[in-house]
Each structure stands twice: as structure tokens, then as C-alpha cells.
């Protein structure tokens, strides 16, 4: 039976009817047009479906859409403020931290979560934070370098969210 749910997606309120068995990843991609989270394995092993729920990166392929009723969901599309790349995104470009780019949205979210908890992570901490995001192209070192390169995140995504939240 379809249920109506409301949640915040990248700072905007969204109201949608879902069947309980619809998966969050599929609802985001196929019904709401948010394409950055990808389906890499559909089992929670690769991390390319990562989105943030209430500031924590989770695997959206293992979440029923209905579970985010009343919650805050953020994808990489919501990180940018005024079309400006975040310092992390800029660092990714400078360090050649991506090749095919398929894992990039997930890894950027994992790194964003890390940097908000710990603005100066060690290389070991960075590795642990992104260990759940599989990348086949880069060999990870350029990604780790992009993250450790940043000693400060000048604008955290939480500030972005607060600024963008629009009351209906």
C-alpha cells in the first residue's frame, strides 16, 4: 500500500508517495532524478550508492525509501553552494583523485563526513573513512592525498544545508 512521505533532499522539502518496498537508491534516481548515487553492487559492498542521512553516510541500496520520512538526505548535488565547488571537490580536481568518476560522489560524501568530524585527519584515519568506497581506477593514493591536503574545510555542508532549507 502506498504511503506518503516527506523528507528534506539537498535542502529542499520533498513529498512523495512510495510503496514500502521501494529502495531509497531507486527512488532518488528513478523518481526524483538525483543521479549521483550509483548502483555498483546492490549489496552494500561498494559504497557507490552512498548518500548522507542526517549527516551520516549510508548505503542507499540498503535503505527503504520510507525509512527517510522526516529525515534529512544529502547527496553530492547538495554540497555545492552557489554553484561553487567545495574545497574538497577542488582538491579532488587538483590531485587527479578520480579517473572514471563513478565512485567519486560516494567517496566525496564519505570524505565530507570525515572532515566534519575531524578537520585534520591522519592518513590512517582517511583510509578508514573511505575504506567502504571501492575504486578500481585510482589506487586510492590520489584520493587520500586530496583529503589530507585540506587542513580546513572552509564551508561545511551542514552550514550549506541550514542555508538552503526552504520551508514550504
Amino acid at each position: 500500500m502506498k504511503r506518503t512521505m516527506t523528507f528534506t533532499l539537498n535542502g529542499r522539502r520533498v513529498r512523495i508517495d512510495v510503496e514500502p518496498q521501494e529502495i531509497l537508491l531507486e527512488v532518488l534516481r528513478d523518481r526524483l532524478g538525483v543521479k549521483s548515487p550509483k548502483c555498483g553492487c546492490d549489496k552494500g559492498d561498494c559504497g557507490s550508492c552512498s548518500v548522507m542521512i542526517n549527516g551520516k553516510t549510508i548505503r542507499s541500496c540498503l535503505v527503504l525509501a520510507i525509512e527517510v520520512d522526516g529525515q534529512r538526505v544529502m547527496t553530492i548535488e547538495g554540497l555545492m553552494q552557489n554553484n561553487e565547488l567545495t574545497p574538497l571537490q577542488q582538491s579532488f580536481i587538483e590531485q587527479n583523485s578520480f579517473q572514471c568518476g563513478f565512485c567519486a560522489p560516494g567517496i566525496i560524501l564519505s570524505a565530507t563526513e570525515l572532515l566534519e568530524r575531524n578537520p585534520r585527519p591522519s592518513e590512517e584515519q582517511v583510509k578508514e573513512a573511505i575504506a567502504g568506497n571501492l575504486c578500481r581506477c585510482t589506487g586510492y593514493q590520489p584520493i587520500i592525498d586530496a583529503i589530507t591536503h585540506l587542513t580546513r574545510v572552509s564551508v561545511s555542508h551542514q552550514d550549506n544545508e541550514k542555508r538552503k532549507e526552504v520551508r514550504p
Binding site: 543521479k35 559492498d45 555545492m80 565547488l85 571537490q89 587527479n96 579517473q99 578500481r136 590520489p142
Partner: protein
């Protein structure tokens, strides 16, 4: 050459913004509107069986179903180098997972439900899962019709056997060669199958519209080759190349797996079954493992003859390839490896027999390295053992035998300029070869060092061509239209840099995007590490073509002396008139207005095409002599420092170094990217990835839970990337390819390091912690 402004620099990737913002669109991101239909494939549960009958009646009546098709609807074969594969299985199935039928429905759930209602009756046949069984006397034939298959003239299928192709190389005199030797030594090395594991799975959408135009969108490394295969396979439907269009969006990793045609043919075929509606075929991760190309397994018997002073006098390689159920592409891997299984060494007497053997396992095909990773494990392990037997340093042994420019190769051709000795020296220096490393604080750890040389040539048909168009825009920016695919390696940026160097328009003002076979000019495939060389040459020619038109126009419209003109900072300048600076943007679309109001010029457009005219696949079928199959080789050397925990077998890599001669690094940062990414992928094959099949041919670990690819916690502590530049005379700015090479040496350097640390020679990949620990335990109890 030294004052190049863009080439040779770490230009920022031009596809960066799209990829870090999530704007980049991959096949599953494309929208096709409410008419999109979804296909679910009915797969064979058996590795080898006859299809007795298929009942689709229940499925056809299921809710949401538009059409159900089987092999009867598509009795067509296809293949790149040999036509041995079928759109849908015909009279029999040859591997677990092979497509037998398909349901097309309005939504994925309906398709899935209905697919379960398709009833297939099989008669099981004995599956042949090992090369030894395929090669028995009077074996069960997996392809009884082998002798009637169409194939390229340089393949030699053996009728009435399971040998799809036998590449024979004979150079010099083997008997003499071994007689001359002071030491003759033989051993066997085993390398299993591997999976590409691109994070994006295969996907394709086909639309056969009401004007009978077939368009296929596919995550593909080869849009033009796919168009060709689709047109040939579906020719019985009245289709020809002008009716077929392939569009490729961003590709989420290829590694060879998205080259050629595997599952994409299903989108093309199914589209023709439902005129007017696009049909999507999206592969799950499990299907990605068992029904796309796999890297073939190989058993290599290596026999070497050497003199006391380390000179190699003879080499005999016998390679038995587990090539899988269909070898339309994989047979060329066997071929390419067969021609080059000597490694980068000068060997006067060579015999190589490379057998492409059918088995009832997933089809083998192109995988980064194209057979070279597979044979190099055995060869470089064997070389180390040989050096050890002679009491000679393994690096010195390699130096002594290293192939040089002009040396004769296995097939009679001559070696191109190469910096192999430089690579060897630099890699040895970077790993501090000769200096023993120890972990003084932990007695359970032992450290060894391993070394290997590597090489590879692009394995291409002799007429593999690349082409490019360049057109300008009103703001002086330009578009490069190529059909080389960006699979992550950075080709779009490298092409922009080449055009930038010629036309002085910076890469930030250059767009290079993914191709559409209707709009973009021909590119054979994005494989073989040949794009920088082939497409680079084409782009350079196209840019030079633009430049010539620009100078011609400025000379005649503005009355300048053509020979004085040059380009700088997006302007036409004159050596004799320092104040003359004509910005490109003013005229590259609009031309010049003359005093009388008429115009000269118009849109500047350049074209370039590159196809080597010196390459030939014709050679003596018994010896391979006389052929010119390989345009050039890229060479290199690699070394690793490996720390082994004697109790657990777990291995840690404090340092690994890859030195490669790329001729000219158009973008050194991107070359480094290939080194880091490639060596990690290579190390994964030797340390972690472990594909398992049961006794019925079913893959037991088609997922990341049990087929382990490295995470950020599993990488070497330090990857040292060394770029050597000995120019490739016919490459753009001297460049040659490097995309595959960086993973090729990974397995033997680990095997050699294990031997150095423990005195244990391991000859069967993968060399997992378990195998190492148990080998140590066995050694300790002896």
C-alpha cells in the same frame, strides 16, 4: 621540444568538474521517457547442455509483459575476430549464465516475475571445466561446428578439437639453442581467471524506431566496433551500418571489459523486437562477473636455455589458455601473447605455442594487459629462478638480456627505440636493489625484494584507424570530435593538450566529449593502450590542418606573408611584424570582412586521420615469421619491497616502483595515475582476487563480498612512479601508450619477492596470505 607549453605538463583534467559534482552521466543515468521498457534475461543454469525446448506461454501472459524472445527469434551469430557467439543460445548452452531467452516488460519487477515463468528444458552434457579435459584424445567438442566459423585470416582453428586457435612461433633453431646452453631449466606456472570489476556494471539501451533506425546507447569502449558487430549480426533483419547508431555516455571504468561486444548485443537485438520503444538491459553485479568477458586463465610451460654468463640462448613457451565458451575476442589475447611471450629480451631461438582452448566457463576476452600479465607471471618467475641457478643477480641477468632498439623480435620484426635499460636501472635504484631490508623490531616479519621487466605492444588489426575533427566556436574555444572513449584514463584531456599545443588554445577552452557514431569520426576501439599514439596523431593532424587553413586565410585576406605567421596565445602573429596580433576568435567562425563588405573565410574545421600503413597480420602460419603485427612496444621495469608476516602469511608493501618508457608523457600526472591505479589492480590479482567455480561450472563468488578487490586500507605504503622518455618516432610529440602496462609486472614481482624473503617459489596464482602461511608451515616442518 623543451619549450612545449601544454604537452608535457600536468594540465588539469577537463572532465573534472562533471565528475566531482555528480554531473557526469553514465548509461544508467540517461532518461528515456515513459516508453522505456526493461529486459530481464533468462539464463542457463548449466555449463553445458542441449536446449530441448522453451515454453514462454505463461511468461507472455504475465502482467506488464510486452514481448518474450528466445534464440529462435535471433538465430544470429556474432564476434569480433571469430563469429562463434550467439545473440541467444541456439541448440545448446555453453556456460552457466548464458542468455537463453529474454522478457521485455514495462517495469523491472514485471520483467523479473515473468522471466521466472519461462520454462526451459535442458539435456545436460558433461561440462569441460579444465583445459586438460578439453585437450584429451577425442574430447567432447564444445563447438562441433568450429571449422565453419568465419574468422580473421590470422587465426588457425583446429577442426574436430576444442582448440579455437593455435599461434605458432618458431625463430632460429631450438635444438642448437638448447645445445649451446650450459643450463636448461623447465617449469610450469598456473594463472587463473580474473574479473575486471569496474565499479560501473555493463548496461545498454536499444531503440529501433519506426523509421527502422537502430540506436544503441552503451557503456562502451568501442562504439564504432559495436556498430560494426551489430550491423553484421543483424544484417539478416535488413540492417546495414547506416541504419545503426551507437552513442556512448561516460563510462565508469572499462579495463578492457567494455570493449568489443558482450551483453550489448542484447539491447540491439531486443530493440528490434519492440519497434518504437527503447529497451534497457542493465547488468547486475553478479551478471557482470559471470556474463561479461573474463581474463582468461593460462597454464604456461616454460623451458629456458642459458649460458654460464647469463645469456639466454633459447626459450620454449607452451601456453594453454582456458578461453571459455566463446573466444570471438579472447582468441586474439592468445594470439597477442603468443607473439610476445618472450618478454622484453633478446633471444635468438624461440618456440612459442599458444593454444586457445574452449571450456564451459564464461567467455574470456580483453582485460588490461591482454595476455601479457598472464604469461609474465610465469616468465619473470622463471627468469628469477634461472638467475638464481646461475648464481647471478636477477637484475643483472635482465640487464644482460634486455632487448635493444633494432633487435629482432619473435616474428622477425625489429624492436623500436626503448629505454628498457634506463627503466631497469631506475627501478633498481628506487627500490635500493642489493640492500637487504629487515624489520628489526618484529621477528615475525621478513622482507624480500622482487624485480621484473615487462613490455606490451598494442594488439590490433593492421588497419586499426583513429580520426578526429576539430571545429571552432565564436569565442575562440574549440571542439574536438573523436570516438576514443574516456574510461578514466584521461584521454579527453590528453587530446585537448595536443590540440592546445598546435593551436595555442588552452585546454580549458577545449571541449572533447563522448562520441556518437553519427557525428564523430571513426575510432577502432579504445583498447590496446594505443589511443595516445593513434588518436593523438589524428588530433595533431586535425589541429595542424586547422592551423594551415588559419594561416592560408590570414595570408590571403590580410595580405600577410604566410611563412612569417605563427600562433601564440590564441592569436596569429607575424615574425616580421611584432605588432600584428590577430585573435582567433574574431575570424574562426565569421571570417574576415574586406573593405567592400564581402567576407573571406568562414568556419575553420580541421580533420586528421591516422592509420599505420606498415602493419601486417600476414605471416607464415607455422612460424609467424615475416609478419608485422605489432606497431611498437612500450617497455618498463618494476620492483617491490614486500614484508611478509611468517605466521599469518599476510603481506604488506612498504614500497613498489614502476618505471615505464612512455616516449613522451603528454600529461605526467595522468601517467602517474595509470601507474598507481594499474599497479594496485595488478597487486590485487596476485594477492587477493580468487575466482572460484564449483564442479558444475557455476561461479561461487560473483560479488564483492567474496571476490576481494582492494580498499583504501589495502594499498602499498608508497608507489614510486618513474617516467622514462625515449621518443617513439611516429608518436605525437614522441608519445606511446601506457594504460595497460602498469599492472603487467605486479604478479611476478610479488612471487619473486616471496622467493627472496622465504626461499619458497610459488607457481600458482593467486598468492594469498593463506597459501603463503601454509607454505611457510610446510617449509618449517621439513
Amino acid at each position: 621540444m623543451s619549450d612545449l607549453k601544454f604537452v608535457g605538463h600536468d594540465e588539469v583534467r577537463i572532465d573534472g568538474k562533471a565528475k566531482v559534482t555528480g554531473a557526469a552521466q553514465y548509461i544508467d543515468d540517461l532518461e528515456f521517457g515513459p516508453g522505456l521498457l526493461f529486459a530481464e534475461i533468462v539464463e542457463s543454469p548449466y555449463a553445458h547442455a542441449e536446449i530441448i525446448g522453451i515454453d514462454t506461454t505463461k511468461a507472455e501472459r504475465a502482467e506488464g509483459v510486452v514481448k518474450v524472445v528466445t534464440g529462435k527469434d535471433f538465430p544470429y551469430s556474432f564476434g569480433l575476430y571469430m563469429q562463434d557467439r550467439f545473440v541467444f543460445a541456439q541448440d545448446r548452452v555453453r556456460f552457466v549464465g548464458e542468455q537463453v531467452a529474454a522478457v521485455i516488460a514495462r517495469d523491472p519487477v514485471a520483467a523479473k516475475r515473468a522471466a521466472r515463468l519461462v520454462k526451459v528444458r535442458y539435456k545436460e552434457l558433461t561440462p569441460i571445466l579444465h583445459v586438460e579435459d578439453a585437450l584429451k584424445e577425442k574430447p567432447l567438442l564444445i563447438h562441433p561446428n568450429l571449422k565453419n566459423y568465419k574468422h580473421v585470416p590470422w587465426f588457425y582453428p583446429q577442426a574436430e578439437t576444442n582448440i579455437a586457435h593455435w599461434r605458432k612461433v618458431k625463430k632460429g633453431n631450438m635444438e642448437e639453442g638448447f645445445k649451446e646452453a650450459d643450463l636448461v631449466f623447465e617449469d610450469t606456472y598456473t594463472v587463473p581467471r580474473y574479473a575486471h570489476c569496474a565499479i560501473e556494471t555493463h548496461g545498454a539501451v536499444g531503440l529501433f524506431d519506426h523509421s527502422r533506425r537502430l540506436t544503441v546507447w552503451a557503456a562502451s569502449q568501442s562504439p564504432f566496433t559495436q556498430r560494426n558487430v551489430f550491423a553484421e549480426a543483424l544484417a539478416p533483419l535488413g540492417l546495414s551500418h547506416q541504419d545503426v547508431r551507437v552513442i556512448a555516455p561516460c563510462v565508469g571504468g572499462g579495463f578492457g571489459g567494455k570493449a568489443g561486444v558482450s551483453m550489448e548485443i542484447l539491447a540491439a537485438a531486443l530493440a528490434t523486437a519492440v519497434k518504437g520503444n527503447p529497451v534497457k538491459v542493465n547488468w547486475s553485479r553478479a551478471q557482470e562477473f559471470y556474463n561479461t568477458y573474463q581474463r582468461q586463465g593460462v597454464i604456461g610451460k616454460t623451458k629456458i636455455g642459458v649460458k654460464k654468463d647469463g645469456t639466454i640462448t633459447a626459450l620454449h613457451q607452451t601456453l594453454y589458455w582456458d578461453a571459455g565458451a566463446y573466444v570471438e575476442y579472447g582468441a586474439n589475447v592468445v594470439n597477442a601473447a603468443g607473439l610476445s611471450a618472450t618478454g622484453p629480451y633478446r633471444i635468438p631461438n624461440v618456440k612459442i605455442d599458444s593454444f586457445c582452448v574452449y571450456t564451459n566457463l564464461p567467455p574470456g576476452g580483453p582485460y588490461r594487459g591482454f595476455g601479457y600479465s598472464e604469461f609474465l607471471f610465469g616468465l619473470e618467475s622463471h627468469i628469477n629462478e634461472t638467475a638464481k641457478k646461475l648464481g647471478m643477480d636477477p637484475v643483472e641477468f635482465r640487464r644482460r638480456n634486455a632487448i635493444k632498439e633494432g633487435d629482432t623480435q619473435t616474428y622477425g620484426g625489429h624492436m623500436n627505440p626503448s629505454g628498457l635499460l634506463q627503466c631497469i636501472d631506475k627501478a633498481a635504484e628506487a627500490i635500493e636493489w642489493g640492500k637487504k631490508a629487515e624489520n628489526k623490531s618484529d621477528p615475525t616479519k621478513v622482507i624480500g625484494k622482487g624485480f621484473a621487466c615487462f613490455w606490451k605492444a598494442p594488439a590490433m588489426p593492421p588497419n586499426a584507424a583513429s580520426s578526429a575533427f576539430i571545429k571552432f566556436n565564436e569565442d575562440g574555444s574549440l571542439n574536438i570530435l573523436i570516438s576514443a572513449m574516456e574510461i578514466g584514463q584521461g584521454v579527453l584531456t590528453v587530446m585537448a593538450q595536443i590540440a592546445a599545443e598546435v593551436l595555442t588554445v588552452p585546454p580549458s577552452k577545449i571541449r572533447v566529449e563522448t562520441p556518437d557514431t553519427d557525428r564523430n569520426p571513426y575510432e577502432w576501439q579504445t583498447v590496446a593502450s594505443h589511443i595516445t599514439w593513434g588518436t593523438g596523431n589524428a588530433v595533431k593532424k586535425a589541429a595542424e590542418d586547422c592551423r594551415e587553413q588559419i594561416f592560408d586565410l590570414v595570408a590571403r585576406a590580410l595580405g600577410k606573408n604566410r611563412d612569417d605567421l605563427y600562433l601564440e596565445n590564441e592569436c596569429v602573429c607575424s615574425r616580421t611584424e611584432p605588432d600584428f596580433k590577430q585573435p582567433l576568435r574574431d575570424f574562426v567562425i565569421n571570417g574576415f570582412m574586406m573593405k567592400d563588405g564581402t567576407f573571406r573565410g568562414g568556419p575553420i574545421m580541421g580533420r586528421g586521420m591516422f592509420m599505420p600503413e606498415f602493419s601486417s597480420a600476414l605471416s607464415d602460419p607455422e612460424t609467424s615469421q615475416g609478419g608485422k603485427p605489432n606497431v611498437h612496444y612500450t617497455v618498463g621495469a618494476a620492483a617491490v619491497e614486500l614484508e611478509i608476516d611468517r605466521e599469518t602469511g599476510r603481506m604488506r608493501i612498504p614500497r613498489v616502483v614502476v618505471a615505464v618508457d612512455v616516449g613522451k608523457a603528454i600529461n605526467p600526472g595522468l601517467v602517474k595515475g595509470q601507474v598507481v591505479g594499474g599497479i594496485v589492480q595488478g597487486l590485487a590479482t596476485v594477492l587477493y582476487e580468487d575466482m572460484r567455480f564449483d564442479e558444475k561450472g557455476r561461479m561461487l563468488n560473483p560479488n564483492f563480498t567474496d571476490y576481494k578487490i582492494p580498499t583504501a586500507m589495502d594499498i602499498p605504503e608508497q608507489v614510486i612512479s618513474i617516467i622514462v622518455e625515449v621518443a617513439q618516432p611516429d608518436g605525437p610529440y614522441g608519445a606511446r601508450g601506457v594504460g595497460e602496462h602498469t599492472m603487467i609486472p605486479a604478479a611476478p614481482i610479488i612471487a619473486n619477492a616471496i622467493e627472496d624473503a622465504l626461499g619458497i617459489r610459488m607457481k600458482s596464482m593467486p598468492l594469498t596470505a593463506e597459501k603463503v602461511a601454509l607454505a611457510i608451515k610446510t617449509q618449517d616442518t621439513k
